[in-house]
Symmetry: C2
Subunit: 307 residues, 2 copies
């Protein structure tokens, strides 16, 4: 039997079936439009699949209730994507007659990197995505962190650079990290698509400094054993050495550990799973859910490469 | 049999024996001087106690290795308290012939509040202390968070207020949170002891704004279910409503949950255990260690009030 995976994003839902990085099948993108339309198309995708699913995992944009023991599990909260507020993202898939698990898209990506990617040799991993929005997922000992709801790391405040006069784009906070350093912020600053800019354009230095500041704060608060930077903006590979350079300055040697000083190149890394981290994380959520439903034993012990 | 507890701080070691908040005995303060001198005096305290200890718990200033499976468990790293760099804080207590557990002072305080104080009704609790330094401890599902080493939350960057010209006191970062908003920073700004200032002194508003900024960042990153603010500076109770006021502005309703909007008064709270949180947390570390050594069963299930 196979597992189903959905990476539910603000512009598209990526759907797939399979059992892992070497067995990811029928990867299909469905545009995010009205909830009914999108969710029906996604359900059709899985129903058209010949064999029944063992379980379905969803890594979703948020804010969403990720607490499996809550009556509102899988329900979106108020979101700027207005039509999606209060949508129950699990309910339509009850028709598949299999267990369904939901977490945030970034927790799913963090989980996939922890289990199959950049984090197979560590016990805690932070995944920060810098794209249309900025968000972070955090896994410790195989468990994605939720807390009260789930982290919203993209909205932490950074210190403005003196030369930067851009107001910021966040509808809530103006110039929080996401407001200053997301993909749309990049585009608004320069009036063109970021991927068309040369790598020596001065805007990259500004973005690298904001991202390095955020990385330093996240390291001070979470102390992850590995730090993965993903998302569309990080396709600009020249950002990695820039961010590491500024991060080293931000940390100023305060925590005197090799990973945070001499070994930063292997500490702050791109996702090993590339842009498949999200959908693979959703797949792993499904696998954990199936094991949980079957045996109540923590699933990551059976599926991860951490031993 | 009884348990031993040490809250190891930069100015004093608080030692006690007992079994919980209603049974905390022989609380004794020993000044922090040279490592040999201090640790010998602390050992004498416990050896003078008539009955043998079941286990000893230490909540220590840092940076310190808190990983029980590491050969360097209980060893301090480079610290501005120069003579204490590389000191092994467990080794002298082998003479007591009982299991010894170490965590950070702030994780110990977070644990005590989680088990016996402000967090008995939640699954995750953040404890931020604002005193000589600023530091944070975080407990999720009964487990204190460590990661790579342990968090150093006091060193996150805040955005400077325009009217603030103070350079900041952190030897590493200058004007990080600790550099701008610790007790010594308060004192350096006004040239007198903070506790002598009237509650309407303008300095309190500046500090409340920095602390609220830090609280917002910590909420975005950790999403704790309860947020405890302790330490000497927070003895100024008028800071609580000020911080909540600015925090509400910082969050700007982005995460639309009652605890972060209408119910902030019961979300950001003082420690229920007052200044005993640290030493009680150390006591609980000892109890967990004893249970672990005895049965390998997660101890918090037996000792906490979370059921």
């Amino acid at each position: 039997m196979t597992f189903g995976a959905i990476e539910a994003g603000g512009t598209k839902f990526v759907c797939a079936t399979g059992s892992g990085p070497n067995d990811l099948q029928r990867v299909t993108r469905i545009p995010t439009t009205a909830p009914d339309e999108t969710l029906t198309a996604v359900l059709d995708f899985f129903q058209a699949h010949s064999s029944p699913l063992r379980a379905l995992g969803i890594g979703s944009f948020g804010p969403i209730n990720p607490h499996a023991d809550s009556p509102a599990y899988g329900r979106l909260l108020n979101t700027p994507k207005a039509r999606w507020s209060n949508v129950d993202i699990i309910e339509p898939f009850q028709a598949l007659n299999c267990p369904v698990a939901v977490d945030t898209d970034v927790n799913a990506a963090a989980l996939a990197e922890y289990v199959w990617g950049a984090g197979t040799d560590v016990d805690s991993l932070l995944y920060l995505t810098i794209g249309t929005g900025i968000g972070g997922g955090f896994v410790v000992d195989g468990t994605p962190h939720h807390g009260l709801l789930h982290p919203e790391m993209g909205h932490l405040r950074v210190r403005r650079l003196e030369e930067d006069t851009f107001d910021g784009l966040c509808p809530y906070h103006g110039d929080c990290l996401e407001g200053l350093a997301s993909g749309p912020a990049l585009e608004a600053r320069v009036g063109t698509q970021p991927e068309k800019l040369p790598s020596d354009h001065p805007i990259w230095s500004i973005h690298a400094q904001y991202l390095a500041q955020a990385c330093a704060t996240l390291i001070y608060v979470l102390s992850p054993e590995r730090f993965v930077l993903g998302g569309g903006v990080m396709q600009q590979k020249h950002l990695f050495p820039r961010i590491r350079h500024h991060l080293r300055q931000e940390l100023a040697g305060y925590v005197d550990l090799p990973r945070l000083t001499s070994d930063l190149d292997s500490y702050v890394v791109p996702p090993h799973l590339g842009d498949r981290a999200g959908v693979l994380g959703a797949l792993h959520l499904a696998q954990r859910k199936a094991l949980e439903s079957h045996s109540q034993v923590p699933s990551h012990e059976h599926l991860s490469e951490h031993d």
